[in-house]
Symmetry: C2
């Protein structure tokens, strides 16, 4: 027998796995102008219209913990994650398909709660729950969500369009979702060590960050501003993996380096408070924390003021540099740190 080597996925990482998977795209069609590698795939309908599609899977115990994540909120959050990928192409989400694999321990009422959350999000983002699958599972809930949207082909914004010296910008503030998770996990530990029957977490004073974790909002408003102001960022991605990981995607795909100014990265007071309590560096929350679902985008320098005249919830946090291999963070104390990501 031929000897086989076992290479674990943990060894190569999911990013490398995706790179491998890309190489299996053995079949091509002219309709698919963008496949794996951006927030959503792009399927051309004709010369002007395109369909955008994206799909994600969420597992109980890996991506969410039902001890502190109400099913209603979870339903809302997975729709947010889905539509955010269409907004990150400068498109408009139209329909949502949810697959759900349900263990015996879940009641009909619990699953209805989940769908109430999906429904609420569909209303907020003007989407329709148009399909999906329900089936049995082992002891864990598994949920997959697909979004289908539209965009005018010329309006689509990819990750690879950033130009040299373009301003790197983000909407909202960063690190809040991770700060919320830290608080929820602390409360869960307290609950476990005290063995109280009913879990009543004390979240007073942490409402903002907990909401960022449990029911984040996708930036539909930002896409509307771009449309009304007739502005087009050169690159766009949603902040789902964390600022550095997502910014790296833009840098690598666009072929430029990155210089960030860490004091410019917007962080909420509550996020700072949580980092202080946890005795952690708040910059790490902002740089590595995922699931904020804010938009990271690059703008030609001359467009920054035009956007600022129409929209006040964004910050310029850096610029694209000529040195392709560079990923640099300048701190407020005058330090300049080269990051290897």
């Amino acid at each position: 027998m031929k000897e086989k080597t076992f290479q674990s996925i943990q060894e190569i990482g999911f990013t490398s796995l995706i790179d491998k998977i890309k190489t299996y795209g053995g079949n091509r069609r002219k309709e698919i102008s963008k496949g794996i590698g951006d927030d959503a795939s792009v399927q051309l309908v004709d010369e002007t219209e395109a369909v955008l599609t994206s799909s994600e899977i969420f597992l109980e115990g890996v991506h969410f913990d039902l001890t502190y994540h109400p099913l209603h909120h979870l339903g809302y959050k997975i729709v947010t994650a889905a539509v955010s990928d269409v907004y990150a192409m400068n498109g408009e989400p139209v329909q949502i398909l949810t697959d759900i694999a349900i263990p015996n321990k879940y009641s009909v009422e619990m699953i209805e709660q989940f769908y109430r959350g999906v429904d609420a999000a569909c209303k907020d983002y003007n989407c329709v729950l148009a399909g999906g699958d329900t089936t049995a599972s082992h002891q864990f809930l598994a949920i997959s969500v697909t979004v289908v949207g539209f965009a005018k082909s010329e309006k689509i914004i990819y990750r690879n369009g950033a130009g040299k010296d373009d301003a790197i910008c983000v909407t909202g503030d960063l690190g809040g979702a991770l700060a919320g998770l830290r608080i929820l996990m602390r409360e869960k530990e307290y609950w476990k060590s005290n063995e109280e029957q009913y879990f009543q977490p004390d979240l007073q004073g942490y409402e903002y960050v907990v909401k960022r974790q449990l029911v984040p909002a996708a930036r539909m408003d930002f896409i509307k501003v771009l449309k009304s102001a007739n502005l087009k960022p050169t690159a766009l991605i949603d902040l789902s993996q964390g600022l550095l990981a997502d910014c790296k995607q833009v840098a690598v795909q666009s072929g430029w380096g990155v210089e960030l100014f860490s004091p410019a990265v917007p962080i909420s007071m509550e996020t700072r408070k949580v980092a202080d309590e946890m005795k952690e560096d708040v910059d790490k929350y902002a740089f590595y924390g995922g699931e904020d679902f804010e938009m990271l985008f690059t703008l030609k320098k001359e467009d920054v003021e035009r956007l600022a005249a129409n929209f006040d919830d964004f910050a310029v946090i850096g610029r694209m540099t000529e040195n392709k291999s560079e990923f640099r963070i300048n701190t407020g104390e005058g330090e300049s740190i080269e990051i290897d990501i």
Copy 2:
């Protein structure tokens, strides 16, 4: 505290759960002309073009058993299941998105095998693997697959279009996938009771039914025939849940009764052989066995001969009747059985 009643999903069944979910479609958009309830959802692009979408989830130990299901075949099969839903709307699949949640025990090579299967199916069905998500899982593999296709709006065939006295037809032969599963499970039992290190199932003489279970083919050929012969069935569904369950969908949604002639239901010799060996009624395989991925369709009586002139791999197995609540099977022995499904 308010007392809550626990209603299990097993109690109401997944079909009733889907009926409940349908009622949460609180948001509507004119683009979505068909949502939950057919093989795929229909999103209108303009007056003539539509996008078709469908999504399904598969769990290790629930939907597949890797003891006898090679990952390469599994990759092929999930694409078959997906594109079959688009063919069942008389559409053309264009892209596939796969989400995969992977436990530690899987190697990179195993996941590559899965994607090789996906890729092979994409080539056969002329689709593109255009996206999806890879993530970690607990001890079980979870796979979701979404298909996106196109159709001319006027060509789309729904489940609800069957007319009174229309002929009920199926492509290919039925029950083979279940017969294959029976054989594979028997071999697994043998393997377990003998504790051999290497599992070498003896499948000689069962190649056809095992293939029906492990690598079924979607009926792309039938859709091509409809196009070239300019024929349009009145209703169309793919046989994924089993003949009776899927036929019931057509009957209920179209608002007519059903009369089937059981001797006319096509069954392969190998399927008959398996049923004999298992001491089971082969009609049960054909009526209740799922995953054959054949097409069930209804034709106006005058179209039956026209189709037969162009295509020889189908059979007329019954007709739609006036009595809406009727679901009758006439046997070869002159019996007439009213089925409650």
